[in-house]
Symmetry: C2
Subunit: 187 residues, 2 copies
């Protein structure tokens, strides 16, 4: 926050009003004028392949604990989107990945997320479970646990990746037509 | 914020600590446990063409008031990235645009911004200054006011757009090599 004193806490008293030069109401602090812009959050992740296989992580944390996902998570301050995607692969799968290009930009307005998903490959064939994963594994396409995927965008990214596997240059995908991330697609 | 009562203000008392299951310190409210995740913000915008010409806006607001920019701004809740880019063209240039594809994903870590810039064209040849613009104009490439561009990423987007003008399918650009958005490129 903007007004932290060294070592100290601070109080913010928010009321909703339209800041000067803005067009929509924001939470503004009555004491100091601090404006809380609650903008959408960025998720960065990747479809990571090794030969013909796909790297997936079984979640050790909520939401969707026990279900399978791709290495992905919230982008942090001070990193780029690609650095964020590499960090997530390190944290969740102890994997070192090489990013190739941008596979997709997904919008999930309900939870105010923009997800940037990259095409990537394992830089070396080592991986293991990070603290947020119960297990990490490489799957052949037909062995992917489609019934136990954590999120709609995991489906989207895998299927879209597969549809352009032989294309060197791709325009990034968006959400599949009519999909907003609220329901898991059928197997 | 999460804990607003109907019509009322609320107080948050923040101290920095690492929330359960997290790995970095966050501002957490001592009273209610609200966590302020200060994640990077998303800017959405576009290079808008009409025939051979480029639509640009002269800024009526700080920062860089009086300088020329592309229609772009912070993404809001409840919209997709493409909807945001269209809204910004409407707000800043009273222009209705048709988005073609994603031109670039720029990272400006110093100010914690991720910028998604699209290729777009005017859906109809009408435009005028919105409240955030002093003037709005269509420029031939050689007449673009290179000395008076507002931000480094305006340079990047225009030049990268121009380099792929004849290509139907493109992989989005990133920042030019070694550029972090801290200085304006030479003309």
């Amino acid at each position: 926050m903007k007004h932290r004193e060294p070592g100290g806490a601070h109080e913010l008293l928010f009321t909703q009003r339209v800041p000067t030069g803005d067009s929509v109401p924001r939470d503004v602090c009555d004491h100091c004028g601090f404006i809380h812009y609650d903008n959408p959050k960025i998720v960065v992740g990747s479809v990571v392949t090794h030969g013909e296989k796909f790297l997936m992580c079984r979640r050790a944390i909520e939401p969707r604990k026990g279900f399978w996902t791709l290495p992905a998570g919230f982008m942090e301050h001070g990193e780029t989107t690609e650095e964020g995607a590499r960090r997530e692969a390190r944290e969740e799968a102890n994997a070192d990945i090489r990013i190739r290009d941008l596979l997709a930009v997904y919008n999930i307005p309900r939870i105010a997320q923009v997800q940037l998903m990259y095409r990537a490959e394992l830089a070396s064939p080592e991986f293991s479970s990070g603290p947020e994963s119960l297990e990490v594994a490489l799957f052949d396409w037909e062995d992917i646990p489609w019934d136990q995927l954590a999120f709609p965008s995991v489906h989207w990214a895998l299927r879209q990746f597969r549809s352009v596997m032989d294309q060197a240059v791709i325009a990034p995908f968006a959400n599949p037509e009519g999909e907003f991330g609220n329901v898991l697609p059928p197997k």
